[in-house]
């Protein structure tokens, strides 16, 4: 079974530029998560989808971050415009459905550097 795929693996941009990350969850997984992991910290949930609907985006900085999962499969996370403090690893995870009993499987992450 293929794991969670993310691309690109690395991205370097200038501040005020825009950037997009892509995630392909494990086949059949209804729930998809985006986390932000700043160096030296644990991951922080940005947004959770159930199929193509948003379940929780309370920690997503909506003035600059957006995410979509149009067909309930792949997802993209966008930052526009980027700030220096957005430098982090962006992790995508998926699970069969919602709830803690369902293990979250994580992708390798996209490392973003904002100069």
């Amino acid at each position: 079974e293929a794991g969670v795929a993310q691309s690109p693996r690395y991205k370097i941009i200038e501040k005020r530029q825009s950037v997009a990350f892509w995630c392909n969850p494990i086949s059949g997984h209804a729930t998809l998560y985006w986390y932000q992991q700043i160096l030296g910290q644990g991951p922080k949930l940005l947004i959770q989808f159930q199929n193509n609907g948003v379940v929780d985006d309370s920690q997503l900085p909506k003035d600059r971050f957006s995410a979509e999962r149009l067909k309930g499969v792949d997802s993209t996370l966008k930052i526009q415009p980027a700030k220096l403090e957005d430098s982090a690893v962006y992790l995508c995870a998926s699970s069969k459905t919602r709830g803690s009993y369902n293990e979250q499987f994580f992708g390798p992450g996209t490392r973003l550097t904002v100069l």
């Binding site: 910290q41 644990g42 994580f106």
Partner: protein, 109 residues
Amino acid sequence: AQSVTQPDIHITVSEGASLELRCNYSYGATPYLFWYVQSPGQGLQLLLKYFSGDTLVQGIKGFEAEFKRSQSSFNLRKPSVHWSDAAEYFCAVGEKLIFGQGTELSVKP
């Protein structure tokens, strides 16, 4: 507020020695507790989880953890560490996975 504290930022142990990584949590109800491992360039992998029942839980790769409600702790242990265990370890709590800041484990030959 829900939170997780991992007091040790970095721990070094000798190969073959025992290991204990500390985790303290703050949570209003009965917590769901997790330990994840993150190797360089890899995603997070679930080591073990506690939901209810037996307070000593066994996980993959020879790890175990003990839930102690009175101490609000969920410490991770391994009796004999292997060089391949060198990684970052994260404790997390709750359905929405609130993570601690992590403990980096180094293993001396």
